[in-house]
């Protein structure tokens, strides 16, 4: 059985591995940090958040200061999907962000049906549209 953990990650409970949901690549042990199986790139903030006002003229430009924040991008090494992004302190280690208790997860899902399409939640917008009066 596989559990959908994030938009791009799932855990194979039997093989005890993290997997990429886009290309099925095995990333690493689900008893460890999935990031250790990914590629990392330290992105220049100006590539994502442009200098709206001229950096030659002004100190604060709408672009984050790269001496004050790093944008760490984590890619699947097989398909290049951007699985996670971390806005990190410069030089700070990436976070071990999801430390799963795999045995508890196995026990929990032993009482559940496998889900292959993620559940979204109540269709609030749909309900609202159903009650609207179009002319």
């Amino acid at each position: 059985m596989k559990v959908l953990m994030t938009e791009y990650l799932r855990i194979d409970l039997d093989a005890e591995n993290w997997e990429c949901r886009v290309c099925d690549h095995t990333i690493g042990s689900a008893r460890g940090n999935y990031k250790e199986g990914l590629l990392v790139y330290n992105r220049d903030p100006a590539d994502i958040h442009p200098h709206i006002i001229d950096p030659e003229k002004y100190r604060f430009t709408f672009c984050p200061d790269k001496d004050w924040v790093n944008i760490l991008e984590f890619y699947c090494p097989s398909c290049g999907t951007q699985i996670e992004v971390e806005y990190a302190l410069p030089g700070h280690e990436p976070l071990y962000d999801m430390e799963v208790d795999l045995d508890a997860l196995k026990e929990q899902w032993s009482h559940r049906e496998e889900i292959t399409e993620v559940t979204i939640g109540p269709d609030v917008l749909g309900e609202r549209q159903q009650h609207s009066h179009s002319h």
């Binding site: 604060f60 924040v69 700070h92 979204i120």
Partner: protein
């Protein structure tokens, strides 16, 4: 026998000592027994008896619905009649509390955190004033409160609290709270960034009786009016809050007449008990896991510094534990600290607004959640630390909670809301004050604080300038109405700020530009109070990006109203055009961080800011090209920037997407990522430093070591359990010291002595 006598004597002594201490307490300060407790109170014998007698779920639901209606009705009263801008635009709430003080139901609209945190002052009243002969409690009394060390968020929010009686017996409490703004602090508007001690923050009202027999006591009212810049507003809104409480009382008396006090008590107790049990059941559905995240403040609102708010969220069984160890020590002479309940209350908002909005809006929905916080920290400040700008630390508390919980929620088979990226979390607005065009002294803020960009959702974009993180239903106001009372115009308003989105498969909702200039007063000024001009205060989710940075831009030495009369074409309707084209000759153009202390403005000088974007969700390469084009059409993105971010090929004239070329661009870019990315272990080896950057003042834990927190330099390491005070130097003194140092160097070089040493 002797032993027994001796034990009795000891007991008697202890009782005497306890009574002596109680009778001779010199000051009833903030009570840790109340303030550190967020669980519902133990069930009393009477409550248990009532619950046993009234088991009909239909009757309980009926009473609960009428309580909800009463809260919503009184909320409407506050919003319609309140004089404070915060009241007009929904920064208010009403609630009904059990006889022990637990919030059972809050109004559906408004700022839930207020209600969640008003149980503290009610419990203070119960503990200290009911049996105090000089105070006492009776029907028709009303208590006022605003000091966050006794409850609630910051002392710009004032509450009116009223006991409800039935045949001489206390059955419950009601309260109404409004973000009043002005409170007599050292800066107008109620949220001074310049406060260096709690005594700079204006009125600090511990709960006290200001209403007897449903009448506001004039002597106390006059004292309060005399302590603030807006005496008329103080009076009007005290009356409004009192009448909202009286309407709640009326509705509760209708319930008492129909169902009786036992049924009402049973409803309140069983609602709280059932919600608490349901929350435990829902937590148990989450995966057992530890999630780590952090966010940073890049300023104290006085100077730039990197201040970490660290969160380790652990779920095990039906327990959910927020551990904020590793967060910065409190900044003892800056206003950005929070008292612990503020941080807890804000995290309660995550659950009640964004995770379980279907639950009754009460204290029980948050009761089972556990907290570990380091003492004297930015999230658990001491009573000596100012907290008038606690929004900075509590908003980051909200964000780390929202970011961490999303990683638990994704896998759940049943969800109560969509998983979403963190909301934008700063109040990008103008706080203002001075003499208005009618000769009245004012101090308050623009309701644009309520327009924060919504986080992107797992199946759709976030909504623009949607709602503040502290209220699910609040308005951003009609600027034209405000301009009847204030002497400035928003020359550009509600215009989205192009190219400032947080990208992703689904992008965050964006914010709008606000350009203001004073017109009809020479005694008027503004302040702005946000962090995030150098480093974003939020995170993205699952491969989505956070927002960018948002500065304050100013144009001085110009009167744009004169320009509009003579050369209207020179006026530019965006920050980018104004700052880059510099259309006004001889004007001074500058950008700043968003912590601008109160500064007087001159007629026609421009102050320009933008609200921020909610976080993005998912990989940008998965964004539907049609959504990219829609953003271009709506001028949220320029075509060039859209191409760069999202790798979409389209025709500049027609905006028709070339699907094939787009697929190739994206496939190529995936290959490029694989080349530019380095394996994790290699990256860590090259990138990770053992200590924080040397040239940036940093506060908080570094890497995964939570046993030490830094306090401004790598030589200043503290014990997180006993960090001691942290003081900043006044920025002007820092500047003077730098200038003196330069001057000293020049003197040495030229031989010019200081004036007093000349012969």
């Amino acid at each position: 026998m002797n032993d027994k006598l001796s034990a009795e004597a000891v007991l008697e002594d202890q009782e005497l000592v306890a009574k002596f201490l109680q009778d001779t307490t010199l000051f009833l300060g903030p009570d840790p027994d109340i303030m550190r407790h967020h669980d519902i109170m133990p069930c009393t014998d009477y409550e248990a008896e009532c619950v046993a007698k009234h088991g009909d779920p239909h009757q309980m639901a009926s009473i609960r619905d009428r309580m909800q209606s009463a809260c919503d009705e009184s909320y409407e009263m506050l919003e319609q009649m309140g004089a404070a801008p915060g009241a007009k635009w929904g920064d208010v709430i009403t609630g009904i509390y059990s006889a022990s003080g637990d919030l059972t139901i809050g109004s559906a609209g408004g700022v839930l955190i207020f209600s969640v945190l008003v149980h503290h002052p009610i419990k203070f009243i119960i503990k200290n004033w009911i049996h105090e002969p000089t105070v006492g409690l009776k029907e028709g009394d009303g208590f006022i409160h605003n000091d966050s060390r006794y409850g609630n968020v910051h002392n710009t929010d004032q509450s009116m609290i009223m006991p409800i009686y039935h045949e001489g017996k206390l059955v419950c409490w009601v309260a109404s709270t409004v973000h009043e703004g002005e409170n007599g602090a050292i800066e107008p508007g109620g949220m001074p960034s310049m406060a260096e001690t709690p005594f700079d923050e204006g009125l600090k009202m511990s709960p006290f009786k200001v209403v007897e027999n449903y009448e506001i006591k004039k002597d106390l009212l006059t004292f309060l009016q005399n302590s603030v810049r807006e005496p008329k507003l103080q009076y009007e809104d005290m009356k409004v809050k009192l009448f909202a409480c009286m309407r709640l009382e009326k509705r509760i008396k209708e319930i008492l007449a129909l169902d009786g006090p036992d049924a009402l008590t049973a409803c309140m107790r069983s609602t709280n008990d059932n919600v608490k049990a349901e929350v435990r059941r829902r937590i148990a559905e989450w995966p057992d896991m530890t999630v780590r995240t952090y966010c940073t403040m890049d300023s104290t609102l006085r100077e730039n510094a990197l201040i970490k708010l660290n969160c380790t969220l652990t779920k095990k069984g039906d327990r959910l534990i927020f551990d904020l160890t590793g967060s910065s020590p409190e900044i003892t002479n800056r206003a950005i600290n929070t008292a612990l309940p503020g941080a807890k209350g804000m995290i309660a908002q995550v659950f009640l607004n964004h995770i379980w909005p279907d639950l009754p809006r009460g204290q029980a929905a948050f009761a089972p959640i556990e907290f570990i916080t380091p003492p004297c920290s930015i999230v658990d400040g001491s009573v000596n630390a100012p907290n008038s700008q606690s929004l900075m630390s509590i908003f980051l508390s909200f964000t780390v909670a929202q970011h961490a919980t999303a990683k638990f929620l994704y896998s759940l088979p049943k969800k109560y809301t969509r998983v979403l990226a963190p909301w934008y979390n700063m109040i990008s607005t103008y706080i203002w004050g001075g003499m208005n065009q009618h000769g009245e002294m004012l101090g308050n803020l623009c309701a644009d604080l309520n327009g924060m960009g919504g986080g992107a959702r797992m199946d759709m974009d976030g909504e623009h300038a949607m709602a503040p993180i502290f209220a699910s239903m609040a308005d951003i106001g009609e600027q034209e109405m405000n301009e009847e009372d204030v002497p400035f115009l928003q020359l550009v308003s509600k215009k989205m700020t192009t190219n400032t989105q947080a990208p992703g498969k689904y992008r965050g909702g964006m914010g709008y530009t606000q350009i203001v200039a004073t017109k009809d007063s020479d005694q008027w000024g503004f302040m702005t109070t946000c962090v995030g001009s150098k480093a974003p205060p939020i995170q993205g989710l699952f491969g989505g990006y956070a927002c960018g940075a948002y500065p304050l831009c100013k144009v001085e030495d110009v009167d744009v109203y004169d320009v509009m009369l003579t050369e209207p074409e020179r006026f530019k309707h965006s920050i980018v055009e104004t700052m880059n084209e510099q259309p006004y000759e001889n004007a001074k153009y500058s950008s700043h961080h968003m912590g601008m202390g109160f500064s007087l403005s001159k007629r026609g000088e421009l102050y320009m800011i933008s609200q921020g974007s909610g976080g993005g969700y998912g990989d940008v390469l998965e964004r539907d090209p049609a959504l990219v084009i829609k953003d271009i059409e709506e001028r949220l993105l320029t075509p060039d920037w859209a191409r760069k971010l999202y790798k979409v090929a389209f025709d500049d004239e027609t905006l028709i997407v070339d699907e094939e070329a787009t697929a190739k661009l994206r496939a190529d870019y995936r290959e490029q990522r694989k080349k530019q990315g380095v394996p994790y272990a290699e990256f860590v080896k090259k990138h990770v430093q053992s200590e924080p950057p040397k040239d940036i003042p940093f506060y908080g834990s570094w890497n995964s070591d939570l046993s030490v927190v830094y306090a401004g330099s790598n030589d200043d390491k503290r014990d997180p359990q006993d960090p001691g005070p942290v003081y900043f130097t006044n920025p002007k003194d820092v500047e003077i010291a730098a200038l003196e140092s330069e001057l000293e160097a020049i003197r040495k070089k030229t031989g010019i002595l200081p004036r007093d040493n000349r012969k």
